[in-house]
């Protein structure tokens, strides 16, 4: 659970960094954005694989994947090295190092990453309102679909992640508390955005569904980003996010982050949604701008390691495209 919170927090921080890098002087720094995207990928993996039913409360799909996966899997010894193409059995060995199984939930993360760069491509000025927000929110519902499907498969994203939980646990516990003793204000609101980023793509394909997911969105999202930088107890986090959203951001982040965090979540979704739609129409390799200084999505960079089912693969491509365009 705590890993999920930490991962979620890191996802939102990472997205904030990518978002802010647009306006940094000197142009987009390829190196830094590459590193941030790697962290994003790691955090996304952990976040989506950490089975915490409590986080997905009142969700239409319930838990993304059944935990029982782990006991039934045969132990296969230590997983392959980080970043190496994992043998299929490597994933099975994860339970040895980590009580909770690593679910290859690649479906959600790509969209997360996609959305932010996509937004930057179109510019924050294109803030569609109203209907698109509904569509985006509705699409958020559909996130569970592919995720569930993906979870059920023997996925093995970017192999070697199996070792990850143990190491990350060791790293995360101490660093759960920031040095300054204060969470970056961008976190609470960023997480809903991160979660909602999943929305846009499905929105492309499906007609809007009723936007009933809002409370769940905020609940799930806020859990990771609240002041509980240390793991929060199971039930109380639900309340925290709403409080955080209402509270003014405490200092720390710059104005850009502040803007993002207090912005209307639906607006953000729609921003990403609209940007995303444009990207989807383009060819995967193209992206919106073929600038040299673009960021790239390393997630798609290890073809040998991703054994995803079709929906997930479909998700991956646009995300990478979006990052490229960004």
């Amino acid at each position: 659970m705590e890993f999920k919170l930490e991962a979620h927090r890191i996802v939102s921080i990472s997205l904030g960094k990518i978002y802010n890098s647009r306006v940094q002087r000197g142009g987009i720094k390829l190196h830094k954005n590459l590193l941030v995207s790697l962290v994003l990928r790691s955090a996304r993996q952990v976040y989506l694989s950490d089975p915490c039913p409590g986080l997905y409360l009142a969700g239409p799909a319930g838990t993304p994947a059944p935990p029982p996966q782990q006991p039934g899997e045969p132990a296969a010894g230590p997983p392959a090295g980080w970043g190496e193409p994992p043998p299929p059995a490597a994933r099975a060995s994860w339970p040895e190092t980590e009580p909770q199984p690593e679910r290859s939930a690649v479906s959600e993360a790509p969209r997360v990453g996609d959305a932010v760069p996509a937004a930057t491509v179109t510019g924050v000025g294109d803030v569609p309102q109203g209907g698109e927000a509904d569509a985006a929110e509705a699409a958020w519902n559909r996130v569970d679909g592919p995720r569930q499907a993906a979870a059920g498969e023997a996925e093995d994203p970017a192999g070697g992640w199996g070792v990850f939980p143990l190491g990350s646990r060791a790293a995360r516990r101490p660093c759960g508390c920031p040095l300054g003793g204060q969470d970056p204000p961008g976190t609470p609101a960023a997480t809903p955005r991160a979660a909602c980023c999943c929305a846009p793509r499905p929105a492309e394909d499906e007609p809007p569904a009723p936007p009933a997911v809002c409370p769940r969105k905020r609940g799930a999202a806020g859990v990771g980003g609240g002041p509980a930088s240390c793991p929060a107890p199971g039930s109380t986090p639900l309340k925290k996010p709403r409080r955080n959203l209402e509270q003014p951001a405490s200092g720390g982040e710059d104005d850009d982050a502040e803007e993002m965090e207090t912005g209307n979540v639906a607006n953000l979704i729609s921003i990403f949604g609209s940007s995303f739609s444009g990207l989807l129409r383009k060819s995967p390799g193209g992206g919106r701008e073929e600038e040299e200084g673009e960021e790239s999505g390393p997630e798609a960079a290890e073809p040998g390691q991703i054994c995803c089912d079709k929906p997930v693969l479909r998700d991956m491509n646009p995300w990478s495209t979006a990052i490229v365009a960004f």
């Binding site: 930490e6 991962a7 890191i10 921080i13 960094k17 002087r25 000197g26 142009g27 720094k29 390829l30 190196h31 830094k32 590459l34 590193l35 790697l38 962290v39 790691s42 955090a43 952990v46 230590p78 090295g81 980080w82 070792v163 990850f164 143990l166 190491g167 990350s168 060791a170 790293a171 995360r172 101490p174 660093c175 759960g176 508390c177 920031p178 040095l179 300054g180 970056p184 390799g285 600038e291 040299e292 200084g293 673009e294 790239s296 999505g297 390393p298 798609a300 960079a301 290890e302 990478s320 495209t321 990052i323 490229v324």
Partner: protein
């Protein structure tokens, strides 16, 4: 110059007592961003010390000759020349501002009375000539002393201009501008031992230039993937071998170093040697990839070793052993548990440099809280020193500092949580022969010497 006569340069670690010598820069608490020093480099003799800052300026200090009348000014560095090297530019095609921050300065070996250096920002490299002028011609025919042109028809007699002494004036003039060769941000330049060529490296490409030719450069490394979505690593630093003009190395964000031989092929995408230390799986975290990214790579003066700096450590490699480094020195291991916070405040992306002393027996690199670390390779001892105004009394010895990692904090120790992460020492330089070091702390340049010197 005291100490310069000694054959081997003394080790820099604990054998000597480092003392404060000078500090350059304003004392204000409010530091203008443009004043932040972004690179420090001694020239080949050590008589000149160049600094570049975020405002695009280069300041060169010259070491004073030892003076009997002022015995205490043992080789003080005083301002020699200041000039604006780069200006902010705007790339209209991409709607990008190009920062004027000086990323690197590299001196050329001195071949005549003038000094030459290369300075670079993100996109453009410039060759500057720094020359002294201490004579002035007087008695021109076509212009009078004010410089106004004379009417040729009014001239009735001709005279030969004569040279008269004047106050020393140091002029810096741009001799070459090497532009438009880099799509990404330049992170390194390195002058070749042939004194004719140099390389410049950006995130994905390395170009080879001839110092005389500005309209062409040869691309010798290109790691840009056909599909940018497949990008997994970028080039972070590159350097020519100090003696073998065909050999250079470049480091990557994945913690690898590749040594390339330009004789093997025109495009050195395939390395001759590949240096990588296998990762310790037990120390995996979200940030393992970031902290393994190499921020600086430097050959030893001998050319037999090289040193790489990643976020938490410095590694010394033997060029003949690719499998693992010869030595690994922890710079600030106590930060390993703070990586998440350092990620949040962006400190984890700080690019620390490292440097060798003249005899390759010691290495130095910076840390936070204005601390810098020295590792003596012979005695295997290390020391943490601080560049601060408090310990800036003339010839005051620097007291070793210690960071308390947990448990009871002893007197004079500083706890990890009290470290000031805004005070970072990214750039340090070691005199090529003497025990003199230059340490850049934000907008201040500290110069330390050892007592014996």
């Amino acid at each position: 110059m005291a100490g310069a006569g000694g054959g081997g340069c003394p080790a820099g670690g604990n054998d000597f007592q480092w003392c404060f010598s000078q500090v350059k820069g304003a004392i204000d608490e409010d530091v203008a961003e443009a004043d932040i020093i972004s690179t420090v480099e001694f020239n080949c003799s050590g008589d000149l010390l160049a600094t570049g800052d975020k405002g695009g300026r280069v300041v060169i200090f010259q070491r004073e000759q030892e003076n009997k009348s002022r015995p205490h000014s043992r080789g003080e560095y005083n301002v020699y020349s200041t000039f604006q090297s780069h200006e902010p530019e705007f790339d209209y095609l991409k709607s990008l501002e190009i920062e004027e921050k000086i990323n690197k300065i590299r001196w050329l070996p001195q071949q005549n009375a003038a000094h030459f250096l290369l300075s670079t920002n993100d996109k453009t490299i410039k060759l500057w000539k720094i020359s002294e002028r201490d004579k002035r011609a007087e008695g021109y025919n076509l212009k009078d002393e004010d410089g106004r042109l004379r009417d040729p028809f009014r001239i009735t007699a001709l005279r030969v201009p004569i040279l008269k002494p004047m106050d020393l004036m140091v002029e810096a003039s741009p001799r070459r501008i090497f532009a438009n060769a880099h799509t990404y941000h330049i992170n390194s330049i390195s002058v070749n031992s042939d004194h004719e060529t140099y390389l410049s490296a950006d995130d994905l490409r390395i170009n080879l230039w001839h110092l005389e030719i500005t309209d062409r450069s040869f691309n010798i490394v290109d790691i840009k993937p056909a599909n940018m979505e497949e990008l997994t690593e970028v080039i972070t630093a590159a350097e020519f071998h100090p003696h073998q003009c065909n050999v250079f190395v470049y480091s990557s964000s994945k913690g690898t170093i590749r040594l390339c031989d330009m004789r093997s092929s025109a495009l050195c995408d395939r390395h001759s040697k590949f240096f990588e230390e296998p990762e310790d799986p037990s120390s995996r975290s979200f940030f393992s990839e970031i902290i393994s990214s190499i921020s600086d790579v430097k050959f030893s003066h001998s050319g037999r070793y090289m040193m790489s700096r990643d976020y938490l450590s410095v590694k010394v490699w033997d060029l003949n052993m690719e499998s693992r480094p010869l030595e690994t020195h922890q710079v600030h291991e106590y930060l390993r548990s703070k990586l998440c916070s350092l990620y949040e405040n962006d400190c984890i992306f700080d690019k620390f440099e490292c440097c060798w002393n003249g005899s390759d027996s010691a290495i130095m690199t910076g840390s936070y809280n204005n601390f810098f670390r020295m590792f003596d390779r012979d005695t295997r001892r290390d020391v943490t020193l601080e560049a601060s105004r408090e310990s800036s009394k003339p010839r005051a010895s620097l007291k070793p500092r210690k960071v308390c990692t947990g448990g009871k904090r002893k007197k004079d120790e500083i706890s990890v949580d009290s470290l000031d992460f805004n005070k970072k020492i990214l750039h340090t330089a070691w005199h090529p022969a003497d025990s003199v070091i230059a340490v850049a702390a934000t907008n201040n340049l500290y110069i330390f010497q050892d007592k014996i010197n």
